[in-house]
């Protein structure tokens, strides 16, 4: 479904990604792990068109993504939940969720100025779809709350919800449980499973919480200093000596 081949990306002198290749099959939960600064977020940014990889190829359902505009990539069905919360601060939860599916509702400026016919119909449809996501993620209580007034954990949930309202085929989730307590983490794990199983959305997940990664993932790739050092099932990864040393090496330094 998503094929990343020999992607390289530099920032000035440092190579954030070096010849990274991976292949995500439809349906599962695919995790990317690695120490801080390994290049995980950079890889997501290359996929969603925020950065342009220097070389290599990224294809989604056979179409090349490198060089495609960011908003086109998301419209192709790749949604994104950001690591550092990137919600629209001036909007309520409801508007944040509705804002992500504008491209699914076709009406023009003229219809909008009158808010009649097509515009009103599409807006109601949009609201209905958004309400489904609100229910899925238990956001009923804060529909009308400005996102800035929410706790960090709930904001993370809205971040995921906003990606889901786009009705994507694949969602890129970047560290959904960082900074969360145990209960919030368990909830989030449940939501990610629901997204994957009930909504049939392929999940590409970045996470430091090893427990979560091992429980949820079908397949795991490990990055270290921009280089892919291992790929396999969670069990294989847990036993891989190179992976263990990469993590231990970091802890000692």
């Amino acid at each position: 479904m998503l094929r990343i081949a020999n992607v390289t990306m530099h920032f000035g002198g440092i190579a954030a990604l070096q010849n990274v290749s991976l292949d995500v099959m439809p349906g599962g939960i695919y995790s990317i792990i690695g120490p801080n600064g390994a290049g995980k977020t950079t890889l997501f940014n290359c996929i969603s068109g925020i950065y342009r990889a220097r070389s290599g190829s990224i294809t989604f359902k056979g179409k090349e993504l490198i060089g495609t505009k960011a908003h086109k990539i998301s419209q192709m069905g790749i949604a994104r939940a950001f690591q550092n919360i990137e919600l629209f601060k001036g909007m309520t939860v409801l508007d944040n969720l509705m804002s992500a599916r504008g491209f699914l509702h076709h009406y023009g400026l003229l219809a909008a100025t009158l808010y009649l016919g097509r515009c009103a119909r599409e807006e109601r449809k949009c609201r209905d779809r958004v309400e489904e996501v609100i229910e899925l993620l238990d956001l009923q209580k804060c529909r009308k709350t400005p996102v800035g007034a929410l706790s960090y954990g709930v904001q993370k949930r809205v971040e995921l919800g906003r990606a889901l309202t786009m009705e994507p085929e694949m969602v890129l989730i970047d560290e959904p449980v960082s900074g969360m307590n145990l209960e919030e983490t368990e909830d989030m794990a449940r939501y990610i499973l629901d997204v994957n199983e009930e909504r049939n959305i392929t999940v590409l997940l970045i996470e430091h919480d090893m427990g979560l990664v091992m429980d949820l993932s079908d397949r795991v790739t490990v990055l270290n200093f921009g280089v892919k050092i291992a790929e396999g099932s969670p069990d294989e990864i847990a036993r891989n000596p190179e992976v263990i040393s990469a993590y231990l090496g970091r802890q000692q330094s």
Binding site: I50, F82, G90, A100, Y115, R162
Partner: protein
């Protein structure tokens, strides 16, 4: 939470959500219809200025307040609207019902042209870019034969069918209709996907792109829309004043509009209206104060005239210091207070 639970989204998504809103709007409409009967010509002329300013401020707020694109060229777009209708009516003898939309579309077109290079500029650089555009327009108006530079040009009176709009009172009803329509349209745009896309771009442009929003398309649309409003406002100014000179559309007009939306409240329709009323009203208030002061303190009144601009600036600065959210922010707080009274949350 203080509100009532809404069972259907239809009610939730309606423009006027409660009976009270409808009642108040009805009262406001009635007041607008009858008030000219009780006001002097001078007082009505103030209202006319305010109504035109409301249209221009709504447009600028869509660009700056909603989309976050700073423009110092709003005055230039009013000028384009004013001169378009003046030239189209004067040189081509086109009727008002043609020249008014023409003014809007001409300004919108040029607004979108300005929007294209503006895609690469942000913040201060965008402000400088739009400022430069304003100077270019100024320069053309001063040097083009047709517009007669400093001398200015006459504008045909408004003629719709057999009705010609002449007196202040007639102008009041005429302009009030446009202001109401402009407000309704702005409100609708703001609550549609277009308004959400604008705010998304303002708040987090990278995330907006990741949500499938084309930055280029919606930034250009915001420029076009804002300029369309300015063009209409400019055309109304032209017909209302009956004589236009480039000097009345210079940088100071752009800044006055920016002051309106900041003082009223960025990113709200209500704020555009309140800001337009306040900024248009302040100079008249100062004149009024001068008249009153003249009787008891003649020396002071001379001082007020000298410092008119300074007093104006001081009021704006103080207002912003005490209420950074603008007048719309005060309104919002008052509403919450009212709803939850007597229980404080």
């Amino acid at each position: 939470m203080g509100g009532k639970f809404k069972t259907s989204y239809k009610g939730d998504m309606a423009l006027f959500q409660t009976l009270w809103v409808k009642v108040w709007l009805g009262i406001l409409a009635a007041a607008i219809v009858v008030c000219p009967q009780f006001l002097s010509t001078y007082q009505i002329s103030i209202l006319n200025e305010m109504a035109i300013a409301i249209i221009g401020a709504l447009g600028l707020n869509l660009l700056i307040g909603y989309t976050g694109q700073i423009s110092l060229g709003h005055g230039a777009f009013l000028a384009i609207g004013a001169y378009t209708t003046a030239l189209a009516a004067g040189e081509l003898n086109l009727p008002f019902i043609v020249t008014l939309p023409l003014s809007g579309f001409m300004a919108a077109l040029l607004g979108m042209v300005v929007g294209v290079p503006a895609l690469r500029l942000k913040g201060l650089y965008l402000a400088l870019g739009t400022l430069a555009f304003g100077f270019i327009v100024d320069y053309i108006l001063f040097h083009w034969d047709l517009t007669q530079g400093d001398m200015g040009m006459a504008v045909n009176p408004v003629q719709i069918g057999s009705w010609s709009v002449q007196t202040e009172k007639e102008f009041f009803y005429f302009i009030a209709c446009f202001a109401a329509l402009a407000t309704l349209c702005a409100k609708n745009i703001a609550r549609s996907k277009i308004g959400r896309n604008f705010i998304a771009i303002r708040d987090r442009d990278i995330a907006a792109e990741a949500m499938g929003i084309s930055l280029a398309k919606y930034k250009i649309m915001a420029f076009g829309l804002s300029s369309f409003y300015a063009g209409i406002a400019g055309a109304l100014v032209a017909h209302y004043q009956k004589w236009i000179v480039p000097g009345s559309f210079d940088l100071s007009l752009s800044i006055a509009y920016i002051a309106m939306i900041i003082l009223g409240g960025l990113g709200t329709v209500l704020g555009s209206i309140l800001g337009a009323i306040l900024i248009t009203g302040i100079p008249h208030g100062i004149i009024y104060a001068t008249d009153v002061a003249k009787e008891s303190y003649p020396a002071l009144s001379g001082l007020i005239v000298d410092f008119k601009l300074g007093i104006f600036g001081l009021i704006v600065v103080l207002a912003l210091l005490f209420e950074p959210q603008g007048l719309a922010g005060i309104y919002r707080r008052a509403k919450v207070y009212w709803k939850t009274w007597p229980f404080k949350y």
